[in-house]
């Protein structure tokens, strides 16, 4: 992760959260699509690790999309235009449209959140939260949750290396890579379940969960301008959301 960047990680994180809120509130496919094409895709491309993020998005969003298509595509009670009748299940036009909309939204969510999380400079984020004097509990929750990502990445890498050292052949083709990815999932998930409580103990033992003020080894990279920017953006999005909802209700 590049250490030098223009925006403070807190600003990036807030931006991502506000974007998700907007997509939720606006709830129009045109808007979701625009965010996907104009924000998510470029962000992934310039992230410096488009493949890794791309794979992660596919891994998370893929199953969600699939289940959405199965659920709404086949069983959509309000569906009128029947495209295919399969007895108990009916593929309806309305169902498919709904599934597509849901899928689009879910892809936007996973795209925005995963890209942010995977490019986030976690040490800097924690330093900023510390310098801003955030609540310790919140710092702990955000820190240990986001800290799981690099932990998972490291563990996944170790498992693949161990498997290869024992004879898992990973070729250059996409199929072979996909197989390697699947091979790593089970041990990764099981290992993480075991690790999770130990990790929590470790973080507690290193005082991360203690109460009282925290200090930071890293200097403050936040700026007054960004702080103002964050406040303004938050207020603006909240106002907009309220207005949008009210107008929607009235109309």
């Amino acid at each position: 992760m590049p250490r030098r960047r223009t925006l403070n990680p807190l600003t990036e994180l807030l931006g991502a959260v506000l974007l998700v809120v907007l997509v939720l509130v606006v709830n129009r496919w045109e808007f979701s699509l625009a965010v996907l094409l104009l924000v998510v895709v470029p962000a992934v491309l310039v992230s410096g690790q488009p493949r890794r993020i791309g794979v992660a998005i596919v891994l998370v969003a893929g199953p969600l999309l699939l289940s959405s298509v199965l659920l709404h595509g086949l069983f959509f009670p309000e569906g009128r235009v029947v495209l295919l009748d399969l007895g108990p299940a009916r593929v309806t036009q309305e169902g498919l449209v709904f599934a597509a909309l849901m899928g689009l939204r879910m892809s936007v969510f996973t795209g925005v959140l995963l890209t942010t999380a995977m490019t986030l400079d976690l040490p800097d984020l924690i330093a900023t939260m510390t310098h801003r004097g955030w609540n310790r509990k919140l710092v702990f929750i955000i820190g240990s949750a986001l800290g799981l990502l690099p932990h998972v990445a490291l563990r996944a890498r170790q498992i693949t290396r161990a498997q290869q050292a024992r004879g898992l052949v990973v070729g250059r083709g996409p199929l072979s890579r996909l197989r390697a990815l699947l091979m790593v999932t089970t041990p990764l998930v099981i290992g993480l379940l075991v690790d999770a409580s130990e990790r929590n103990h470790m973080l507690e033992a290193r005082g991360f969960s203690s109460s009282g003020p925290r200090t930071s080894y890293l200097p403050d990279t936040d700026t007054a301008a960004q702080r103002t920017g964050r406040r303004v953006a938050t207020v603006a999005v909240l106002l907009f959301a309220a207005a949008w909802l009210v107008i929607g209700a009235v109309a």
């Binding site: 992760m1 590049p2 250490r3 410096g48 400079d121 976690l122 040490p123 924690i126 510390t130 820190g143 800290g147 799981l148 690099p150 932990h151 490291l154 170790q158 498992i159 290396r161 161990a162 498997q163 290869q164 050292a165 024992r166 004879g167 898992l168 052949v169 990973v170 070729g171 089970t186 041990p187 099981i190 290992g191 075991v194 690790d195 130990e198 990790r199 103990h201 470790m202 973080l203 507690e204 033992a205 290193r206 005082g207 991360f208 969960s209 203690s210 109460s211 009282g212 003020p213 925290r214 200090t215 930071s216 080894y217 890293l218």
Partner: protein, 575 residues
């Protein structure tokens, strides 16, 4: 300062551990808790660290007193909960398995060391000062800007210790702190512990062996199968006959010559193991110039050069850091490595922490690819083939066992290699079971590797290599953390493998082990081969190993008198 009185401690439904154990450590005292695998020393360490109570599946009856306050446990669900955050402000714990202790919230070693104190609100100025002081005392200064996830094993271990030392705790508990450290680092860690003790910290060090040296007033609590078997001064402990409890002394040669306690056990992968020398007729000393053209040497490296990519955001090594081996003149990597290992030969790779031993070893099975020069294994040059294709030929033991094990059960873990090599399932399982018997772990097949103690996990990793049946064994710190019996068993296993025509390359800090087991030693420093350790004369090269009589060569001396209770020293190091 801290006192533990344990009436009994039980994991799940296992046999009680730590019955009648009492340990009291006063301010400035140094206590070694020594015990073989399964003796309960890690359990005791975890008790001291306050890891008890809420842990599901363990029942503790006894009490812990810290600075005058006593917490009592009756093994009932109503037991008090220890507030770990508060407890750890007084008691710092360095457990086995260094990478599991990384916060994953630091981009640099400096931040990692600072993590604890910053969580406790130490002011920034003081924080920076103490981080730099501790780093200086543990020779970490040149590594402060590095990503802790990309350190060598010993460098990481030092970082983790520094992160505990910097907290200036009232009690410091360390599980195998010297494991994987070179001599200088070990001395520096010892000095740092001394300095802490001078300031009143009570130090508890758990170890599978008695230390060769220690503070004059050091005390020892020796455990065997959960019972105390000795308590007294370190100087007395040496003569207390603790060997009969499987507690050796660090730095002693492995007990090779006796060959007793034999048991007929087949190395599944080498059905011809019992046949002494006629496997290709090769003994290293018989083939001074490469044993002819017929059989290529198992491992040939010519002029290998390699660079670790530096992570983004890491500060490049600055020129003002003294050119110790942590970062060679040209940064981390290897250069000009030429090495031939013949069939039947055991070669030790030695050198200080960060000198490139692991980096070199990982070239032998394709985990790293040489930037320049060539690497050949069993006559096949490693170019761009997938790493997995070499696994049949090269068995690799990772320095950190936790990086190696990934399966759900011990048996599956060991069977993974043969299965990946295309062996039929039933045959693979049979080989796995055999290999587990060889290392004396036949009784834990169905357990999850995480449920095993540290030594056992390491033996599982070893068994997985045996089961695969590779010719070349590449072992990274194979004796690290092993107890006496496992270390001796390992020595026999290696010799036996070599005698059956295999080749072994092992990185090690265990001088006595290398001297006793290896035919020759190569030394690395800053990623280059250096002539010889100044401290040793060159006679070790080309040394021959006296052959043991054939009839004594069978058993590996493992697992005598072990019971299923051994598995209970569990969670060992898993923190």
């Amino acid at each position: 300062m801290i006192t533990v009185r344990s009436e009994s401690f039980t994991y799940d439904d296992g046999v009680p551990l730590l019955s009648g154990v009492q340990l009291a450590v006063g301010a400035g005292e140094y206590v070694v808790v020594a015990g073989a695998s399964g003796s309960g020393k890690t359990t005791l360490a975890r008790l001291l660290a306050g890891l008890v109570g809420s842990d599901a599946g363990c029942r503790f009856r006894g009490s812990i007193t810290l600075a005058g306050e006593t917490v009592r446990f009756d093994g009932s669900p109503a037991d008090p909960r220890i507030d770990r955050a508060a407890w750890s402000a007084a008691v710092a714990f360095v457990s086995q398995g260094a990478w599991g202790q990384l916060s994953m919230m630091s981009a640099t070693v400096a931040e990692e060391i600072a993590f604890g104190p910053s969580n406790r609100g130490v002011p920034t100025e003081e924080l920076r000062r103490s981080v730099h002081d501790v780093a200086a005392s543990l020779r970490l200064t040149s590594l402060l800007g590095r990503d802790p996830r990309r350190l060598s094993g010993g460098q990481l271990q030092r970082t983790i210790i520094a992160a505990a030392v910097v907290q200036r705790p009232r009690v410091l508990v360390l599980d195998e702190p010297f494991h994987g450290l070179d001599e200088d680092s070990a001395a520096e860690v010892a000095a740092a512990l001394d300095a802490l003790r001078g300031a009143g910290t009570a130090v508890v060090v758990c170890d599978a062996m008695l230390p060769r040296s220690g503070p004059a007033d050091a005390r020892v609590l020796a455990l065997a199968e959960g019972h105390p078997v000795f308590s007294g001064l370190l100087t007395e402990a040496r003569w207390a006959g603790l060997r009969r409890y499987g507690i050796g002394t660090a730095g002693d040669p492995p007990g090779l010559p006796d060959g007793l306690g034999s048991r007929t056990g087949g190395l599944g992968s080498h059905p011809d193991d019992g046949e002494p020398t006629d496997h290709a007729g090769v003994r290293p000393q018989d083939s001074p110039t490469g044993a002819g053209a017929a059989t290529p040497s198992p491992v040939v490296l010519t002029d290998v050069g390699f660079h670790h990519p530096t992570g983004a955001g890491e500060s490049a090594p600055t020129s003002d850091t003294r050119s110790d081996s942590d970062t060679g003149p040209a940064g981390a990597g290897l250069s000009g490595i030429t090495l031939t290992v013949r069939a039947g030969e055991i070669v030790a790779v030695r050198g200080p922490n960060g000198s490139g031993k692991t980096t070199l070893l990982q070239h032998l099975n394709g985990l790293h690819r040489a930037d320049t020069g060539t690497v050949s294994v069993l006559g096949q040059q490693i170019r761009r083939q997938p790493t997995g294709t070499f696994a049949g030929d090269v068995g690799y033991l990772f320095q950190d066992t936790d990086q190696q094990l990934f399966e759900r059960t011990v048996l599956r873990e060991v069977a993974y290699g043969p299965l990946a090599a295309g062996v039929r399932r039933s045959e693979a399982l049979r080989r796995a079971a055999d290999a587990l018997d060889v290392v004396g772990l036949g009784f834990v097949r169905e357990l999850h590797p995480y449920e095993l103690g540290f030594v056992q996990r390491r033996l599982v990793a070893l068994a997985s290599i045996i089961a695969t049946g590779s010719t070349v064994w590449v072992l990274d710190e194979p004796t690290g953390g092993l107890d006496e019996s496992a270390r001796t068993g390992l020595a026999r296993l290696l010799r036996r493998h070599a005698r059956s025509g295999g080749a072994v390359v092992m990185a090690t800090h265990d001088a006595a082990f290398a001297t006793a087991v290896a035919h020759r030693t190569i030394w690395l420093d800053g990623g280059r081969l250096v002539p010889d350790d100044p401290g040793t004369d060159g006679r070790m090269d080309g040394r021959t190993v006296e052959a043991e009589p054939a009839d004594r060569r069978r058993g590996l001396g493992w697992g005598h008198g072990r019971t299923a209770g051994e598995a209970q020293d569990s969670q060992d190091g898993r923190s």
